[in-house]
Symmetry: C3
Subunit: 265 residues, 3 copies
């Protein structure tokens, strides 16, 4: 709990540069969420400038949502450079399992050791074993169903694995945390999962432990989502109140609402 509060405080103070190579649908959302929480977003994908960009940014977010050949190369160049520079990065495997092109791209990206992989249950199931197919980008499984697969994926990749949904599971090998915050209405706003990934990217810049960084990001997403949901009349108003809630979030709001359980050592 204390690390969540101090991470939020550090984030607002340091305003780290978070480089995102993400999908067209959510670029605006994720930039706004990063600004609202106190980070400084940058989006750039030109092959010619990725090496230069990676020298000035603090962390990297890679999200394959609307991938194509050019963008896959951008993602690989950026992930490779981040890995070389020991810059932590987070992978969002949008639509994992939906097509061989996505699966192959994910395999190539995993070679560059993401600090964190965040997806919904179907995506994490698809990444952990070959014979699961997803239904597009929305999950047809609950996070709990994917827990064992997430543990296996975490051990295989040595990455922290985050399965988000009704509850969020953050897994680091044998230890894991369950965060039971957030609101069902959040699933009716496009890109909330991608926004969670972007938030992980921001917290990776202020906490050297990817597990604590991910827990911080998911806790803050959940608490801000609950605050927004109380003011919202539907998904439209939810989204804007969510940015306001991120921006205005206080330590008391977090400690009053956070519902987190840790397992393992």
């Amino acid at each position: 709990m204390n690390s969540i509060l101090s991470n939020l405080s550090s984030l607002r103070e340091k305003s780290p540069l978070v480089h995102s190579i993400t999908n067209f649908v959510v670029m605006n959302n994720t930039a706004n969420a990063l600004l609202a929480i106190g980070a400084s977003p940058i989006m750039a994908h030109a092959h010619k400038e990725l090496d230069d960009m990676l020298t000035i940014v603090n962390t990297l977010v890679v999200n394959i949502g609307t991938l194509d050949e050019y963008w896959v190369k951008s993602m690989l160049l950026a992930a490779k450079k981040a890995n070389e520079k020991h810059l932590p990065w987070v992978l969002d495997p949008v639509g994992a399992g939906a097509t061989p092109f996505r699966n192959e791209t994910l395999t190539r990206l995993l070679a560059f050791h993401p600090a964190v992989i965040r997806g919904n249950a179907s995506e994490i199931l698809a990444m952990a074993k070959e014979n699961v197919t997803s239904k597009g980008v929305d999950s047809t499984n609950s996070p709990k169903e994917a827990l064992e697969a997430g543990k296996r994926l975490s051990v295989q990749t040595r990455s922290v694995v985050c399965i988000s949904g009704k509850e969020d599971y953050v897994i680091d090998g044998s230890r894991y945390a369950v965060i039971a915050n957030g609101d069902a209405l959040m699933a009716k706003v496009t890109g909330m999962g991608c926004t969670a990934t972007a938030m992980v990217g921001a917290f990776l810049a202020v906490d050297n432990d990817p597990f604590q960084a991910t827990v911080s990001a998911m806790a803050i997403m959940g608490v801000a989502g609950e605050i927004a949901a109380r003011k919202a009349e539907g998904p439209g108003t939810l989204q804007l109140h969510f940015y306001d809630a991120l921006f205005n979030l206080t330590p008391n709001q977090i400690t009053d609402s956070l519902n987190i359980t840790q397992y393992g050592n």
Copy 2:
């Protein structure tokens, strides 16, 4: 009327996967509108994965707003596959008539038999005859002026043609419906036309008759737009109340407000 209510009910129950190849400006809007009404949006355009995607989705939306060579090929690949699989798809001819590149692309897309073509009056006029030029993406004609052109286009293409504007005309050969709902403020929010097209894409998944599917989509757009306009103080607040209205829409709200007239048999 009954088919509109039952279509909405089916849509919310089945949550069909709607694949959109659409323009950069409206991707976020249309994804949010699809989620709010109960569909499951997916956006993907990589040549390598379109065949795979088209095997899991229920319907396809093609919108040429920010086309370029790569995206045109994506649109053609997806439309071809949809046609082969007898998957209904809807075409949004954004900026038809503005440039030869747009006109040629539309001609190539028409070869794959869209179930529905939805545009503003200028776009439908441009698609129906060669010698009309459009003023960018906003219409300089009223829907009524385009009615005869729309009928001709519907007969030529065997597609349902929807002309949206102050009133919406949905045309299927000799029969047509006029929907006099919506609010003038909707034209001040970017991508409301594109959102209407996306909604048609969603309803194509639950009604085998493209005419009834299109009438359902336009009726629900109009009624939700009116509800949102009553709460809005301008185009900014309109947009978010619109998503809320779609999400919360009840059968009573539809039957109380719907202003629809059918002509022909």
Copy 3:
């Protein structure tokens, strides 16, 4: 002051077509802002149609935020054509100084004589001299620190230079205006600077003097931002109230709030 009011009135009456080649993050925002203030936005970047588009539009906006090789060529084709046709255009040098690729692209674009260059202080400093590096896309300098650099850049390029930030400086050689409107919360919404550039693009269509056009755009941004900030509880609500404020803006609201000082002749 009078020219600001008459420019706004002209803009709403003429609804000029503003062509934007801009970044993926802000396309939706800038289209909505252009619609709200009364302009007609169009976004198109295909090499094959730029010449045709440039024959029907009134002004051009070029924003390099998410540039890549294809889009750079689009920008160069459009700027070249605009220059040939004596169509005024505005350049937004997002991230100037961050990478050599951005700097080279900006040098190539400057050959086509933008009427206006609008950036934050770090970007204008980077454009005026080689040895300044930027921190991504957010400014680490105040507009006042960049004033002398802005004057030099204006003389070198014969462009109006606008440095936006806490205060906005609009510079035309030796004369300049300082606009002390707006609200700090605007910096927490992504793309507000890009939106300012789009607004300049709109006003270039109704005022032959790029200096007055830019002053009008920045004044209206600032006043609308203040109105929105008074209603907002954070960056989420700010953004939508901003569109409403642009749409509903009255001459009295402008004259009551505008804080502008002119220097030089």
